[in-house]
C-alpha cells in the first residue's frame, strides 16, 4: 500500500540570521525535496525612490548609502557618476583615483562579509571572525578618511567631501601587505575545507543562459563562466588605467556556476582589488578634491541610465531630470533585488538545508532588495 503524501509549505524567516536580513522564504516541499521557493520581500521597504523625489541632488547621497549598507562607497560612486553624466562635468584626476581606491577597499570589505557570513551559514564559525577582523581594518581606513565607519556621505557630485588623511596612503599600503597572507589563510581554512566543499559543490548550479535571462550580474554571473565586468566592459571613471584580471568560474570542485564557484570568485576578486589599490596608491596625483563641486546642481532636462560594478553586481541608476533642483524620478536597479528573483530556479530539486547554502552564495543585502 502506498503511503499518502502531501506537499508541505515551510516558512523560513522573516527573522533568522541566515536570511541576511528580514526576508521570508515560502518553501514548498515534497518530503525533503524543494518544489518551489517564493521569496516575500518588502519588510525593510522605505520607498527610497519617493524620498529622492523630494530631495535635491546632493541630498540624495546619504540615502543611497543606505541601500546596500555593506558597500556604501560603491553606491555613492554609481550615483555621483550618473549625476555627473547628466551635468556633463569632469572631475579632477585625484578625485577619480581616491574614488577608485575607496570603492575597491569597499569591495573587499563587502566580499569579506559575504565570505564570512557564508561560512557561518554553513556552520564554519572561525572564518567569520577572521573576515570581520580584516574588515575592521578597512572600516578604520574609512573612519580615518571621513569619520564614518558604515555610511559615509564621502563622494559628492563633482568631488569628495574631504581630502585624504596625510597618513592614509601609508596605512592603506600596510593594509594591502597585511591582507595578502590572510587570503591564503582563508583558503586553507575554508575554501578547501572538505566539509565546506561537500556542502557547496554541485549545489545550486546556475547555467549561463539562465543567468543572463534573469539579469544576473557581478560575481554570480562570472561564476557561471562569463567574463563580464563593467569595470572592463562598460568602463567608467578611470578603471581603464589599471591592470587587473576578471576571474571566472571554472568548476574546480564541482560544476561551473555552483555555490562553491560563486564563493570562490569573491576570494579571487579580493586579490584583484588589492592589485588595483596598489596601482592607484602608487599613481595617486596631487590636486584639489573640492574644486569641481558645482555650487548649484541643476541638471538640464533629460534622462540617464548609468551603471557601475558593485561588489554584488550591476548597480544602475535611472535618473530623470525635469530641469529643477530635485530629481523627477530615481530608479535603482539593485543587484540584490535582481539576484533574489532567481532563488526559485536555483533551489528546485534540492534539499531544505541547501536553501541556506544557495541564499548565502548569491550574497544579498536586504537594504537594497527592499529599498
Amino acid at each position: 500500500m502506498a503511503l499518502k503524501t502531501e506537499q508541505m509549505v515551510l516558512n523560513m524567516g522573516p527573522q533568522h540570521p541566515s536570511t541576511h536580513g528580514v526576508l521570508r522564504l515560502e518553501v514548498e516541499l515534497e518530503g525533503e525535496i524543494i518544489q518551489s521557493v517564493h521569496p516575500h520581500i518588502g519588510y525593510l521597504h522605505r520607498c527610497f525612490e519617493k524620498h529622492a523625489e523630494a530631495m535635491t541632488y546632493p541630498q540624495v547621497i546619504p540615502y543611497v548609502d543606505r541601500l546596500d549598507y555593506l558597500a556604501s562607497m560603491n553606491n555613492e560612486f554609481g550615483y555621483v557618476v550618473a549625476v555627473e553624466k547628466l551635468l556633463g562635468i569632469q572631475v579632477p584626476e585625484r578625485v577619480e583615483y581616491i574614488r577608485v581606491i575607496m570603492s575597491e577597499l569597499q569591495r573587499i570589505a563587502s566580499h569579506l562579509v559575504a565570505i564570512g557570513t557564508y561560512g557561518l551559514d554553513i556552520g564554519a564559525f572561525t572564518p567569520f571572525l577572521y573576515c570581520f577582523r580584516d574588515r575592521e581594518k578597512i572600516l578604520s581606513l574609512f573612519e580615518m578618511t571621513c569619520g564614518a565607519r558604515l555610511l559615509y556621505n564621502y563622494f559628492w557630485v563633482g568631488g569628495l567631501s574631504h581630502d585624504l588623511h596625510p597618513d592614509f596612503v601609508r596605512s592603506a599600503k600596510d593594509f594591502v601587505k597585511y591582507l595578502r597572507p590572510n587570503i591564503k589563510e582563508l583558503n586553507d581554512l575554508l575554501t578547501n575545507n572538505r566539509i565546506f566543499t561537500d556542502r557547496t559543490a554541485n549545489i545550486g548550479v546556475l547555467p549561463l543562459e539562465t543567468a543572463i535571462n534573469y539579469g544576473i550580474t557581478g560575481p554570480n554571473l562570472r561564476a557561471s563562466g562569463f567574463k563580464w565586468d563593467l569595470r572592463k566592459d562598460d568602463p567608467y571613471s578611470i578603471y581603464n588605467k589599471f591592470d587587473f584580471d576578471i576571474p571566472t568560474g571554472q568548476g574546480t570542485v564541482g560544476t561551473v556556476g555552483d555555490c562553491w564557484d560563486r564563493y570562490y570568485i569573491r576570494v579571487l576578486e579580493m586579490e584583484q582589488s588589492l592589485r588595483i589599490i596598489e596601482q592607484a596608491l602608487d599613481q595617486l596625483p596631487e590636486g584639489d578634491v573640492t574644486s569641481a563641486i558645482p555650487k548649484r546642481i541643476k541638471p538640464p532636462a533629460g534622462q540617464i541610465y548609468s551603471r557601475v560594478e558593485n561588489p554584488k553586481g550591476e548597480l544602475g541608476y535611472f535618473i530623470i531630470s525635469d530641469g529643477s533642483l530635485n530629481p523627477f524620478r530615481v530608479k535603482v536597479r539593485g543587484p540584490s533585488f535582481v539576484h533574489l528573483g532567481v532563488m526559485n530556479e536555483l533551489c528546485k530539486g534540492h534539499m531544505v538545508a541547501d536553501v541556506i547554502a544557495i541564499l548565502g552564495s548569491i550574497d544579498i543585502v536586504l537594504g537594497e532588495v527592499d529599498r
Partner: protein
C-alpha cells in the same frame, strides 16, 4: 554593434506604426517609443533576431510622467487627470555590445502595457515593482501582485505624483 538610429530603421521597417518615434538629444539618452500593445512583439523580435540579439534586460522602470491636467483640491492635495504612465526598458546585447532604450506609454486612466516577462525572466520582479509603486498593469504577467508594499495595501501606488499618504491603515490611525 548597431546605433539606435540603425535599430530604429530596422524596427520601423518591420513593425510600421507600432514604432512611434526616435527621441534623441543631448544629454538625453536616445530612446524609441513603442506602442504599449505591441511592445512584447517588438521585444521578442529584438531578442530573437541574430543581428540584434538583445539577450539582457538591464533595467525596467515605471514612471509617472505627470503630464496631465494638474489641480489641487480643498485639502491641498494634488490631483492629476489624464496624461500618461510610462515604462522604460534598458536592454543590451552581451554578444554585440550594443544598448537600446525603449519607452512605452499608456493612458493614466487605463495603464495597460503588454508584459515582457516571457522574454526576459528578469522583467518579472521589475514589472511587479512597477505595478506596485506606479500602478501599471502588465497584461499576460503570470503573477502581478504587490512586491515591496504590503499585499493588502489599499492607499494606491506611492510613486504616483498625486499619491496621498493614508491617514489610516486597516482602520488604525497612523501617527505621523
Amino acid at each position: 554593434m548597431k546605433t539606435p538610429e540603425e535599430i530604429f530603421n530596422i524596427l520601423k521597417e518591420k513593425f510600421g506604426d507600432a514604432i512611434i518615434e526616435l527621441v534623441s538629444s543631448q544629454p538625453v539618452e536616445s530612446f524609441i517609443t513603442v506602442n504599449p500593445q505591441e511592445i512584447d512583439k517588438v521585444c521578442r523580435f529584438l531578442f530573437d533576431n541574430d543581428e540584434l540579439s538583445f539577450d539582457s534586460l538591464m533595467n525596467l522602470s515605471g514612471v509617472d510622467d505627470a503630464n496631465g491636467k494638474k489641480t489641487t483640491d480643498q485639502n491641498g492635495d494634488n490631483i492629476i487627470e489624464g496624461g500618461t504612465l510610462s515604462v522604460y526598458y534598458h536592454i543590451e546585447s552581451t554578444k554585440h555590445r550594443h544598448k537600446l532604450v525603449l519607452k512605452a506609454s499608456a493612458q493614466r486612466e487605463n495603464p495597460e502595457i503588454k508584459s515582457v516577462e516571457s522574454i526576459w525572466r528578469h522583467a518579472d520582479w521589475h514589472e511587479r515593482e512597477a505595478y506596485d509603486l506606479v500602478g501599471i498593469i502588465f497584461l499576460n504577467h503570470p503573477n502581478l501582485t504587490r512586491i515591496l508594499m504590503p499585499y493588502d495595501w489599499e492607499a494606491g501606488h506611492p510613486l504616483r505624483k498625486d499619491y496621498k499618504n493614508p491617514e489610516f491603515y486597516h482602520g488604525m490611525k497612523v501617527p505621523y
